[in-house]
């Protein structure tokens, strides 16, 4: 296993860059960060829609979340890969494909995390703001959302960890992120699949475990902060 790592570490980390396209772990992070960045505003919008929107909007959002929770991500990815270019009329690069799939999928899940954060805030917050004379949109933007988002930072990091794991599906559309890169190495070496894929596992483990440790640490310090302030 050490030889596999020693011979291929740079390819696994960043592919052919700078002499070619980015790949490996760098590509994985690129996909994950791009997906999360785009998902974020949509997820906030959806969480607000479900928490305080008109009835039709709440039903529509709930349906969306239910469908996304009900189908496998792989199925969604195949939809985007095979059907979307046909519907749009122009081809999509694998990178765009996986990002769109993850964004559509994770908007549902991340919105649930944020909604939980909004619901957990005591209604007294809104009441206090209203009695000061602030208007609803301002209350949401300046009082509700900042607190809700702060409180669910560990949850957001956990979702990001899920996104990192989901990028592995880009293998299916032959995008050279970490998993696909490992499979290329395996195809080359032929006789060491166990070593290659364990090395692959190790990369994910280090990345995801670190993220979840950070999430746990933040969870502890945020909980401590929450104890300090009077609850509802």
């Amino acid at each position: 296993m050490i030889e596999v790592l020693r011979d291929n570490w740079s390819f696994l980390l960043w592919g052919y860059f700078p002499n070619g396209p980015i790949g490996g772990l760098a590509m994985t992070l690129l996909i994950a960060l791009a997906s999360l960045a785009i998902t974020f505003p949509f997820a906030i919008a959806m969480a607000l829609a479900r928490a305080m929107g008109p009835r039709w909007l709440r039903v529509a959002a709930a349906t969306y979340v239910t469908v996304m929770r009900g189908i496998p991500l792989l199925m969604l990815l195949l939809w985007i890969y095979f059907f979307l270019p046909v519907a749009l009329g122009f081809p999509l690069s694998p990178f765009v494909t996986i990002v769109i799939a993850i964004v559509i999928f994770q908007t549902a899940y991340l919105s649930e995390v944020i909604r939980a954060g909004i619901d957990a805030l005591p209604y007294g917050q809104t009441e206090a703001a209203l009695s000061l004379g602030l208007r609803k949109p301002v209350i949401v933007a300046k009082i509700i959302l900042p607190q809700a988002l702060f409180n669910v930072i560990p949850g957001i990091i956990n979702q990001f960890t899920s996104v990192v794991k989901e990028t592995s599906l880009a293998y299916v559309i032959a995008l050279a992120e970490l998993t696909y890169s490992a499979s290329l190495i395996n195809a080359q070496l032929m006789v060491k699949p166990l070593e290659v894929y364990l090395v692959l596992a190790m990369f994910y483990f280090v990345l995801c475990f670190s993220l979840s440790q950070v999430a746990d640490m933040l969870d502890r310090s945020i909980s401590a902060k929450r104890q300090a302030s009077p609850a509802r």
Binding site: P72, L74, M75, F82, A182, V196, L200, F205
Partner: protein
Amino acid sequence: MPKLDFSPIFSADYFPLLASGLKMTLLLFAAGWVFSMLLGMVLTLVRGIPFRPLGWLVAAYVEYQRNIPLLVHLFIWYFGVPQALPHWLNDWINQQNAEAFFAIVAIACYNAAYISEDMRSGLRAIPRVQFEAARAIGFTFVGAMRWIILPQAFRNALPALISQTLIIFKGTSLAAVIGVAELTYQARLIESETFRVFETFSVITIVYLAGTLPLMALGHHVERRGKTRSRA
């Protein structure tokens, strides 16, 4: 808007593929569910043994499974593990459906980690005094666990377990990547031959939803029942 034509999918050529795909998905789901529940229970019980190193072992197992994508686990089991197994065992596995075999193993090991954590939370939610009350009446340790503690732990963990069941069901789709002829695999196959992207994928998506929607409804029902129970 191109004309939609669902007939090829339900024709004699392709409907059997659809049916066998569904059968395989259900097989993966059922076997995966049973084995992950069993393994999950074993892990929880092992964790209860007052011997610290065993607890660390289980914790390490859980972290390993949770921080690595299911797809990578599938690769390790299907491509990697045979390398380390004796010939006779590999031959026997190949006589069964090797792809399905390893898919079930990977799914079971992966989800067992989550299930054991869910059960552990369910146990931890029970106040210690319940155990004392059971012993004070005269239950033995085993009797107290069997009649008083474990039933409550299971009830506490039920929403999480239903959620995990949903994840197991959706996870079966990844087996397509290693060549198991389940629903998603058949979707791609049928689509590639009939060129009816929208129709094929719609049907498969609806089949998935037919499995997941009842599970989600069950989860809601259980959660609502749990909330209205306690009054004091």
